[in-house]
Assembly symmetry: C2
Homo-oligomer: 267 residues x 2
DNA sequence: GGTGATTTGTGCGTATGTATT
DNA sequence: TAATACATACGCACAAATCAC
């Protein structure tokens, strides 16, 4: 197929990208087979290498292709997307129930999918970002205790979960220890009479910064999903939890309202 | 003549991108001021135009910059991000309450933000995608009624909301009419005794395809957020609603559990 | 309203580096 | 070691959009 130049038409590389997209859609290259090498695409379409690269760039940034130096250009596989319960409303509704989605639940979900979830832990004292400060009722720049969980699924990067506590709340509790709490931080909160019973989640999608892209091993065309949860007990805000996921590996689930009639597997 | 890259050093365009990122972070170019033109960056860094463009490409794909032909390169403004209530648990909890987040709520939220929400409507009969079929309890490829709402905020593209109904459910109801229902489709569902009382939402982030990017007027570096809701009444699944948002304009909010203590003025 | 200058977009060519096979 | 394939980097020319005059 020879693309001839015509005024008023879309640029060559865009038409080339569209044609490659079409050939992908009709299944010309299935599975993990490499696409034709750049030199062959130059010949097939009669364009310069630069133009081929511009076209492939488009599809790479759409998350459709990945390029591997020395090997070739491949279809991206979407097989390992895992759903993740971020919230599930209680079957029996009581206003004083804990929200708790303890970390153990995630590990169980992973195991049910035949995978293994592990984590690294860090504790830092930092100045509160503006959005975090608003959520936990302090002023921007005030000190907060940041407890960070770096999660791995089968030793692949999975999520970054950061709990922000007002310094006053964490002082004198095990939340100041630079190590995770068995059973989750919820155990500590319950012990000091601050069981979380409500939350507001904010969901956002954005591209990763360079450090995030490196940590998630996310190439171009892979956005992040960012969940920011503000939690409350009967008195007021307790903490803010920001969790970042790679968009090509995770999806979040929310079970809302009365789900008694949802009985595919009972569960 | 070409300067060979020192071992262990990153490529020129990546170091240039990192330096531009730093200069942006320290606030060298605030507001809507244009960055130095490509020719000046060539001079500042002593590299070819191609290298400058590669570096700027990196930041554009991170969603940090936008380029406008004939004008220049600018910081992207994040002013118009609007939060959007996707769900809010009832203060008084009753298992038979409707979930309903009628479209009117969205319009009210927009008005509260001093903006105006409008919509175009389409109705189509299509074959169910696999993921949709699973949610509404039919087989992939069976006919579904697709009711599509194209929403605009101040005449700018905002969201694409698609409700999928099993053909059997919609037959003989106003859901077959190619026009929106006053008060929302919920009115029709209530009239036929299928008030939705529960739902499962799935949240995902991905890059837009070409048609989506065009409709949302989304340049590179702007992902979509996709909300897919399966709703239930006391009998079983009712419909599947897929709503797509531009990640740089919308965020979704979920109010969970008991939010009585969440009083903006309290504290 | 038109003209030219400015600025990014498209397209070509060439050479060499680096990772994989 | 050699061949292959993508990555980086230089250079040039013209197109298209915008803006100042």
């Amino acid at each position: 197929m020879n693309i001839t130049r015509a005024p008023g038409q879309a640029p060559k590389y865009q038409r080339l990208a569209a044609d490659l997209r079409r050939r992908i859609a009709v299944g010309e290259w299935q599975g993990a087979i490499a696409l034709p090498v750049e030199a062959e695409l130059e010949a097939q379409y009669g364009v310069a290498r630069n133009t081929v690269r511009l076209a492939v760039d488009v599809l790479v940034n759409e998350g459709l292709l990945i390029r591997v130096q020395g090997k070739g250009t491949f279809l991206k596989d979407h097989h390992s997307v895992l759903d993740h319960h971020a919230y599930r409303s209680a079957t029996v509704l009581r206003p004083t129930d804990s929200l708790a989605a303890p970390s153990e639940v995630y590990a169980e979900e992973a195991q049910a999918a035949g995978r293994k979830l592990t984590a690294d832990f860090e504790m830092l004292i930092v100045r509160a970002r503006t959005d975090i400060a608003e959520r936990i009722g302090i002023r921007p720049g005030e000190a907060v205790v940041l407890r960070r969980m770096l999660r791995f699924m089968d030793s692949e990067p999975w999520s970054i979960e950061e709990s922000h506590y007002p310094a006053g709340l964490a002082a004198g509790t095990p939340l100041m220890n630079p190590e995770p709490v068995r059973g989750g931080d919820e155990v500590v909160l319950a012990a000091i009479g601050r069981t979380e019973i409500g939350a507001v989640d904010q969901l956002a999608a954005r591209m990763p910064g360079p450090e995030e892209a490196q940590w998630f091993q996310a190439g171009p065309g892979v956005p992040l999903m960012v969940q920011t949860r503000a939690t409350y007990d009967g008195r007021g805000p307790v903490r803010a939890i920001e969790t970042r996921y790679s968009g090509d590996r995770s999806r979040l689930l929310y079970g809302l309202g009365n789900l008694a009639a949802r009985v595919p597997g009972a569960r």
